[in-house]
């Protein structure tokens, strides 16, 4: 459901990202040369209050880094991230800590993001304690309710992370983020380890919470079906850059960037009778370690023309609300 915020001249976005970059320098073995990984490279977009912004892209294209950089869990190399007009990157740490109550993150790696020594109950109560919410009794109760909400039982309260299954851990991560009733949640593959039934339950739950609490999501996922279902708008990343951005329906109806097209074609269909012809990308796999001249996708792009090889395409608005960074779009 396209929301009014997306229209021109709407209210201020909840989160506005301008030219955000994160470069890692890594040491190469056996040589003292350092090489630069442009994990996120000059990314700009914005998210309105109450919407879900889906983020898809090839593995390793910088989605997680983008998420972490937004919350300043890694220091950005350049650019700004304005939350309600204030730059998170320049915020003094005390204030930043306070705003983190409203900005939550679900980590891609569920197990390692849980403290192995803390019981699940303790893990869930931790954010409440940090922000001074409720009495110990209330916190326990809240944590238990949260456990049920994400489809776990009371008995899991006393367990330690290593005693849970992958999906259970992932739900704990989600529960921990949601328990604070934040305003913006960056979900890095929050449902990837869940079976479709629980996945559906969780997605339904997230949408319900969004409706009730005006939550805003930045939703990173690989499951196109899930992304499609939950997102209002979708951004497609490729090699650290945002290559396409559009409302969900528009994107699915008319994918403009060749990478998006490939992506959509590759979705597996849960029906053994349908043997679909899948597009497999040809050409050298690009690496964020190397700087490619021109469009980052050109070595694999079947339509690439001379310009693509020379000139990096800028993101432009091809149709209303539909941006793409491709010369041919």
């Amino acid at each position: 459901m396209p929301s009014i915020h997306e229209q021109e001249g709407g209210p201020m976005p909840l989160l506005e990202v301008k030219g955000l970059s994160k470069h890692y320098s890594t040491k190469r073995p056996a040589s003292f040369r350092k090489s630069l990984v442009k994990a996120v490279d000059d990314v700009s977009f914005h998210i309105y209050e109450g919407e879900t912004y889906g983020l898809v892209g090839e593995s390793g294209c910088g989605k997680s880094t983008l998420g972490k950089t937004l919350l300043r869990l890694v220091e950005p190399t350049a650019g700004e991230a304005l939350y309600q007009g204030e730059d998170l990157n320049r915020m003094p740490s005390r204030q930043l800590r306070a705003s983190r109550r409203q900005l939550q993150m679900v980590f891609q790696d569920p197990y390692s993001s849980l403290n192995p020594r803390k019981t699940i109950g303790r893990t869930l109560e931790e954010p409440l304690i940090i922000h001074g919410i409720g009495s110990p009794q209330e916190r326990t109760e809240l944590a238990m309710r949260m456990l049920e909400t994400v489809g776990l039982q009371e008995e899991h309260y006393d367990r330690l992370p290593h005693e849970l299954s992958g999906g259970q851990r992932q739900r704990i991560g989600l529960a921990r983020a949601l328990i604070l009733e934040p305003r913006l949640v960056i979900c890095d593959e929050p449902v990837s380890a869940l079976d479709v039934i629980i996945q559906s339950q969780i997605i339904n739950l997230m949408r319900k919470l969004q409706r009730e609490l005006k939550l805003t999501y930045l939703f990173i996922a690989h499951d196109i079906g899930v992304i499609r279902h939950i997102s209002d708008r979708i951004g497609v990343m490729y090699l650290g850059k945002m290559v396409e951005e559009a409302r969900t329906d528009d994107l699915f109806a008319q994918p403009l960037h060749p990478y998006t097209q490939v992506l959509l074609s590759a979705v597996p269909i849960p029906d053994p009778r349908v043997k679909k012809e899948r597009m497999i990308l040809q050409g050298d796999i690009p690496s964020p370690l190397e700087t490619v001249s021109g469009c980052a996708f050109h070595p694999r792009c079947p339509f690439a023309v001379e310009t693509c090889r020379k000139l990096a395409p800028a993101k432009r608005e091809v149709a209303p609300g539909h941006f793409a960074a491709c010369h041919l779009a």
Binding site: L71, L73, Q104, P116, I130
Partner: protein, 300 residues
């Protein structure tokens, strides 16, 4: 989707809440090592506390005629070269040494933990604190002890101060090393994301990973403090004479080790028991804090 289950009754939750707390205590008691350690500590404390009533002889009472008499009904542990009752001296020595060892180990554990943790967190503090630790370490214990005793006067508490200074660096470094590893874990990043303060992260999430090496190191320091005290006593910078300490007793016994083995054996035994008690207790606590061990208790 509307939640289908009726939410649990508050009473039931409370019960669960209570259970959890009880579980912790129960676990402490269930831990064989920890409770064995505690029992030993209590026994040692009890005996040394009631030493004056148990033994008929005072620890400083010389009786030169009965010098170097072997263990027997009169003197249970025999007498030393001045005819002092070893039993009484061992009891008193244990009391004093355990007091020194325990105070030093505990203080060093706490101070070392603070120093090590904060050093791991901030680079500039790291330089400041760890270089200070290097400096402290470089000060020879003897020099320090003589200086402190000279400046502040000989007393048990000054000795303790000296030993604390001597041992802090080793604990601080080991805590720092464990904290450096812990600090790079993803769950620490997750705590940052939740808005936890540095202090909280440090104490709630990094500290637990340092506990295990900390306990191991501290239980050593308990023993080390007692032994270093002996070395210092020998230089007149230890526990002021004529108080008996296990270290003093062992040092005294050295001169008579072949013929009057009891002068070495009994204090040595007391030392082993005290250290064993501390180690068991430390191990028990360590095991309690280890998530995997906690679980493993179930089998058999």
């Amino acid at each position: 989707m509307e939640k289908a289950q009726p939410s649990l009754h508050l009473a039931k939750r409370k019960r669960a809440f209570g259970n959890r707390r009880r579980g912790l205590l129960k676990r402490l008691l269930a831990s064989k090592t920890a409770s064995a350690g505690s029992v030993l500590i209590i026994v040692v404390a009890f005996i040394s506390f009631f030493a004056p009533w148990i033994s008929v002889y005072g620890p400083h009472e010389v009786d030169i005629v009965n010098r170097l008499s072997p263990p027997g009904t009169e003197h249970w542990f025999g007498t030393d070269n001045l005819g002092r009752d070893i039993f009484s001296r061992v009891m008193h020595g244990t009391q004093i040494s355990a007091q020194v060892g325990f105070t030093v180990a505990l203080s060093v554990a706490i101070l070392g933990l603070v120093v090590g943790l904060y050093a791991s967190m901030y680079k500039w503090l790291d330089q400041l604190l760890m270089r200070t630790m290097d400096a402290l370490f470089a000060f020879p214990a003897i020099l320090l002890a003589i200086a402190i005793m000279a400046a502040l006067g000989p007393s048990v508490s000054n000795l303790i101060i000296c030993l604390i200074i001597v041992f802090i660096p080793s604990v601080a470094r080991i805590v720092r090393s464990a904290a450096l590893v812990a600090k790079e874990q993803t769950y620490v990043e997750a705590m940052h994301a939740l808005g936890a303060s540095q202090t909280r992260i440090l104490w709630q999430h990094i500290m637990p990973s340092t506990i295990s090496p900390l306990i191991v190191q501290s239980s050593f320091i308990f023993a080390e403090a007692i032994i270093v005290e002996a070395a210092l006593s020998f230089l007149g910078a230890g526990i002021p004479a004529p108080m008996a300490s296990l270290g003093n007793l062992l040092a005294d016994g050295k001169m008579y080790i072949y013929n009057s083995w009891w002068m070495t054996l009994f204090p040595g035994f007391a030392l082993i028991i005290s250290v064993l008690a501390m180690n068991l207790f430390g191990d028990g606590i360590r095991d309690l804090l280890d998530p995997h061990v906690r679980q493993g208790k179930g089998k058999k």
